[in-house]
Every structure is written in C-alpha cells, then in structure tokens.
Amino acid sequence: MNDQNLEVLRKERPAPVEQRDAESREAIVLLESAVRFLRHKEGSLKPTPKLPIDSTDHKYSALHTHSAVVTEDQDAEPGIAENNGPAISDQATPTAETASRASDSVISTIEQQIDDIFASQTIPEKNPLEGVL
C-alpha cells in the first residue's frame, strides 16, 4: 500500500477503512475492560492487611463492610464486572478516600466508646486525689 493509495483512502474512507477503524477501537475497549477485570481480580486475591485491633469485634463493622465488598466482587459475574469496571476497580483498590472513610468510622466508634464510658460513670463530688497531694 503506497502513499498515494493511503491518501485516497483517507479522503474517500471506503467501508473497509471504517470497518477496520471501528474494529480496532472496539478491540482496545474490550482489552482495557479485560485488563481492568484482571487488576481487580489480582487486587482482591491479595491478603487483607492485619489490623492492630480485634477484627471479630462488632464495633469495627465499618472495616468488615469494606472487606466484604472486595470479597464479594471476587465472585462477580464477568458481565457485571465489565459493565461496572471502573466502579468495581475503585472498590477493589481502596483509595485514599475510602481508607479515610474507614478510619473516620473507627475514630467515631472510639469517640462513642469514650463518651459511653464517661456517661456510665458517676462523677465524684470530690476529687479523690484531693488532699493526698
């Protein structure tokens, strides 16, 4: 195929040119989608980092929920993964935003615990250390 032929093809754009262009464009989209799926799969198979807290404690359910999303996606239907590719990838790889949401939740749980402890205690009328010092 010489330059002259190519020039004619560019101007006239016959059906095979349109067909090849559309096919290669669609092929890239499908390949990107398959790679996204593999990235997600690879990401979800990585061991979850151990937290310095008792993960069986129901108080940290926010973190459990986050892990559950990732685990559930592992068995997701390929079609679903294809349609929701970017969204699923975002869930699979916790971003700074999701990590921050998780830690916000832990902090608020701890704050609530502290509030509960203080609320349950009767405040002594007199400082017990008064007079000792």
Binding site: M1, L6, L9, R10, P14, A15, P16, V17, Q19, R20, D21, E23, S24, R25, E26, A27, I28, L30, L31, E32, S33, A34, V35, F37, L38, R39, K41, E42, P78, G79, A81, E82
Partner: protein, 127 residues
Amino acid sequence: MAIKSAITMLSRYIGNQSHHEREARLYRDLMRHEARIGGTVFGEIPEGRRREFFCLDKHTWVWHEEWTDKNGQHKVLTTRYDIRPNGILKSQNGNHYQSVTLQEAERLLRAAQLYKQKIDQEIYNFA
C-alpha cells in the same frame, strides 16, 4: 427483451461481486499494513527477523514472529490472544489455551494502545 434483462442482471451481479471482492481485498491489505506497523511497537526489529502484531478482530490480537536460529532452522511463532470479559487466553502455534498473567495483559494493552496510535497516524491519519 428477456435476453436484455438477463444480461443487465448478470452485469449487475458481476459488478456487485467485483465490488465485494475489491472491498475484501482492501480489508486484507489494510490488515497486512497494520500488521507491519504493529511489529514496530516493540522496538527495533533485528535483522533477518519478521515481526507482526495486529488486531484480527475485536476479540483477537495476533503476534507473529519468524526468524532463523543458530542452527539455520527457520522458526515461526504465532501467538494469539483471545480477549474475554473475565480474562485473556493465549495460544501459541495453535496449541492449547492458557490464561495470561496480569503483567502480560498489561504489556499487551500497552502494545495495543501504541498500535492504535501508530495506525491512526500512519494509515488513517486521524491523530
């Protein structure tokens, strides 16, 4: 009258057939040209080696290499990548299919993107 009509129909049929043939030939020529351009996305092709990389259809990518080894033997390796929604399968020289790793898939994607960029520039002139 009947003979005239038959001749008209026949000439139309031949005309259509040659039109389809021309289109099919152009399609094949475009693919061959793309394959040669595709072969350059992996860097310089060593002398005496033939390398082609192209999109066969929307689900299939082909990487073809031909070279002569130290013993003077002609070698051919055709790798076919089948793109599925839940992964990528690879078959070499028509042998059984195997799943590709994420690393290989990432490389294939990068090669395909460069291929598209190059064919747009050199053939379709869209870029």
